[in-house]
Symmetry: C2
DNA sequence: TTTGTTTTTTGAACGTGTTCAAAAGAAGAA
DNA sequence: TTCTTCTTTTGAACACGTTCAAAAAACAAA
C-alpha cells in the first residue's frame, strides 16, 4: 500500500541526495552522508532506491515527467520542424541545467544490458515517451523522406539529442558555449540534409541507410515487432 | 631501475587478470582473485597498476602496440582509401576479438577528464598514434575535400571507428553480425559521401561543418595549438 | 662479508556501496 | 485495548577496491 508518509520519505531522500550530489559531486557523495542529510539510516536509502545511481535515475524520471507538459505546450505553439526540435532540445537543457553534471553518473552506462542505460529495456518506457516528442515534431511537417527511412527519423533524432546532451554534460566551456554551437550548427545541418534529401544524387546513400536501419532497429516500416532495447538485437 | 624480474611480475599479473576477466567478466573479477592467480598479495597489483580498470588499459595499450606493425604492413599493401580504412578497422576487430567484452570496462568513461577516457589528455599519446593511421589512410588518396574540412578528416574517421568499436563491444548477435553490417554500410556511406562531397549542392553543409569543426577541435587548418584532449576546450 | 639504499611485496586496515535479519511502527480486526 | 499482519527503519556486517606502513628482497659500495 502506497502511504503518504512513505512517498514523503522517498522524496526527502531524493532531495537530500540531490543536495549532497550538487555539493560534493556524485562520486564523492556517500550514501551515509545522504542518509544523514535526509535524517534516516543508511540502509533506508535502499528501501526506496536500488542503488546510488538509481537515485540519479529517479531524478531523471521526475525531470522527464515535469518536462512533458512543458514540451507539449511548446510543440503546440511551434509550427516548423526546426522550431519543434528546438523546443524539445532547449527545454531539456533548461530543465536539466541546474543538475547538468549529475547526468554524468548515468552516461557511464553504454551497455544496453545495464538497467540504467538509456538503451536498456528497463528504461524503455522513458525512452519511448521521449521519442514520441520527436515523432510529433516530425509528424505533418514538410519533410519528404523515402518511406523506408522516414519511420526511423524520430529515433535518429532522439539519438542525436542524446549525443548532444552527453557532450553538454562534460562541456567545461563558459555557459556550455561549445555545446550551444554544436547544437546550432548540427541542427542546421540536419535540416539542410532533410531538405535536400530528395535529390537523385543521394539515392545511393538512401539505399544504404535504409538497409542499415532495418538491421539495427530490426523492423520493417509497417511491420510489428516487440522491440525492447533501443537498438534491438535478435540473437 | 627497470629490472627484468619486475617487468615479469607485471605481465604475470596482467596475464592473470585477463584470465580472470575472461572467466568471470570484468565486474565480477576481484583483485584478490587476480592477485591469487598471479601468486602475489592483493596489494601488489597496485604497485604495478593504478586501478583495476588500469589493468584493462594496460591490455589496451599492449594490443595497440602489437597492432601497429600489422596495420603499417597492411597500409603499405592497400592502395584505395576503402582498403586502407578496412585494414585499420578490421585489424582492430581481429586483435581485440578474443577480449572484446573487456573493452566494455573502458567504455564506461565518456568523461574526457577521467584518465582512462579515450578522450583524456592521459590517453592522448595512444590516441594520436591511432589517428596517425587514419592520416596515412587519407594521405595521397583521391579524396577532394574543402581545405577547411580536410584537416579534420582523420580525427572524424577515428571517432567513427570508436563508435563502431563501442557498438561491437555490446553486440550480442552471433559473431557480431550486426556490427559487421553496420561497418559495411556505414563505410560505404562515408565513401559515397566523400565522393560526392564536391557537388555545389552540398556547399551549405560544408560551411556549417567547417565552422563547427573549428570550434570543437579549436584549431584553424595550418595554425598551431596545444590540443591535449580529444575535443579540446579553451575555458 | 657487512652496511646502507632502493625496489618489491606483504597484509592489515579503511572507506564505500550494499545486504539483511531483526526491531519498530502503522493499520486493522476482535 | 490487544492481537495480527504489513510496511518501514535500523544498524551491524559483508565484499570489494584501494592505501600504506612495515617487512623482505635485491642491489651497491665498502
Amino acid at each position: 500500500m502506497k502511504t503518504k508518509k512513505s512517498e514523503e520519505t522517498r522524496t526527502r531522500i531524493l532531495e537530500a541526495a540531490l543536495d549532497v550530489f550538487r555539493e560534493r559531486g556524485f562520486e564523492h557523495a556517500t550514501i551515509r552522508e545522504i542518509a544523514a542529510a535526509a535524517g534516516v539510516a543508511a540502509g533506508a536509502a535502499y528501501y526506496y532506491f536500488e542503488s546510488k545511481e538509481a537515485i540519479v535515475m529517479a531524478f531523471y524520471e521526475r525531470s522527464q515527467g515535469q518536462m512533458g507538459p512543458q514540451i507539449d505546450a511548446g510543440l503546440e505553439k511551434s509550427k516548423t520542424l526546426e522550431d519543434r526540435l528546438r523546443t524539445i532540445i532547449s527545454t531539456k537543457f533548461e530543465c536539466f541545467g541546474p543538475n547538468r553534471k549529475l547526468l554524468g553518473a548515468l552516461s557511464a552506462h553504454a551497455d544496453p544490458d545495464h538497467p540504467l542505460s538509456p538503451f536498456s529495456k528497463e528504461t524503455a518506457s522513458i525512452r519511448e515517451v521521449d521519442i514520441q516528442f520527436f515523432s510529433r515534431a516530425v509528424m505533418d511537417s514538410k519533410v519528404r523522406l523515402p518511406a523506408n527511412i522516414k519511420p526511423y527519423l524520430p529515433r535518429l533524432l532522439w539519438m542525436y539529442q542524446m549525443g548532444l546532451i552527453l557532450f553538454w554534460v562534460y562541456d567545461h566551456s563558459k555557459d556550455q558555449r561549445r555545446t550551444m554551437i554544436l547544437y546550432e550548427k548540427t541542427l542546421k545541418m540536419i535540416l539542410v540534409t532533410l531538405k535536400i534529401a530528395g535529390v537523385p544524387l543521394l539515392r545511393p546513400l538512401h539505399r544504404l541507410a535504409a538497409e542499415l536501419l532495418e538491421v539495427i532497429y530490426g523492423e520493417v516500416p509497417g511491420g510489428e515487432s516487440t522491440q525492447k532495447t533501443a537498438l534491438s538485437s535478435e540473437d
